[in-house]
Symmetry: C2
Subunit: 158 residues, 2 copies
């Protein structure tokens, strides 16, 4: 019997949880009409395409930096067609699957500086990226409703 | 050296993370004009007061059920003044602090049925409650913008 108390969640469980959220976010991207993705918003907020580009520039680059110590400058956030957004999303999903197991488990509890400017434990940095995705996706739900489109079910992460 | 790999997060870390989110959600509740909390919404969605009541009926009752096995029927979700919402919120925060340490750590990985109907590991049930709060709070940010009010900073959990 280990002297350590049981964890709330282990690294592989957290990745599975995150990928479930990412499957839902992909459905939200796909629910937008292509011509509205980088245009429509409510009250001058950023359109959902811009929010999605923010998520893309945070997720895989964070995990790549954590795994390798190589912090790449995030790519541009210019508008692009929905099919290209979904392609980038799927590419990012594969990168997370490949890179996550390369992070030594003890590193999650260590402080580091991400992208040369954000200093915290890796765990908190990754939770921030996931929470930010959920936060902006919730905003996307309002945009979809305002467009008269039913968003996908929040509880479905399949 | 333990044979177990390092956790991503331990129970006490998860509670601290959740309470940080709850401090932000409290500021979002407080940012709404009292007379709009249960009235204003975008495109027929539920007003933020109703979303807040949903969060209140999920959070402390889930942790109480997990700690004690006693699943209380959630209280009503009727509209009430903002000061009463904030009082319920603070009461709920204290309950989480008191009840969380009473959950045996290994229970987080065990399946259970919450409120007689939701069966999953306790860990996933709790993550759902937190994620649902972040999701609806993100919608509250859009409502605030639509009301011409600047929402609190997402990154500030103090």
């Amino acid at each position: 019997m280990s002297a350590e108390p049981a964890p709330f969640i282990k690294p592989e469980g957290l990745l599975a949880h995150w990928q479930g959220h990412r499957r839902l976010t992909r459905r939200v991207i796909d629910a937008f009409p292509d011509e509205q993705l980088f245009i429509f918003s409510v009250s001058g907020m950023r359109p959902f395409g811009e929010l999605t580009m923010e998520i893309l520039t945070m997720a895989a680059p964070m995990v790549e930096g954590a795994a390798s110590g190589d912090w790449k400058s995030p790519r541009g956030r210019e508008p692009r067609p929905k099919r290209e957004m979904l392609r980038l999303w799927d590419e990012s999903t594969e990168q997370l699957h490949a890179l996550w197991p390369q992070i030594p488990p003890q590193r999650f509890l260590e402080p580091l500086t991400a992208f040369g400017q954000y200093t915290d434990t890796l765990r908190n940095l990754i939770l921030y990226v996931i929470d930010n995705e959920i936060h902006h996706r919730g905003q996307g739900y309002v945009y979809l409703r305002a467009l008269g489109i039913d968003p996908p079910a929040f509880y479905d992460r399949s």
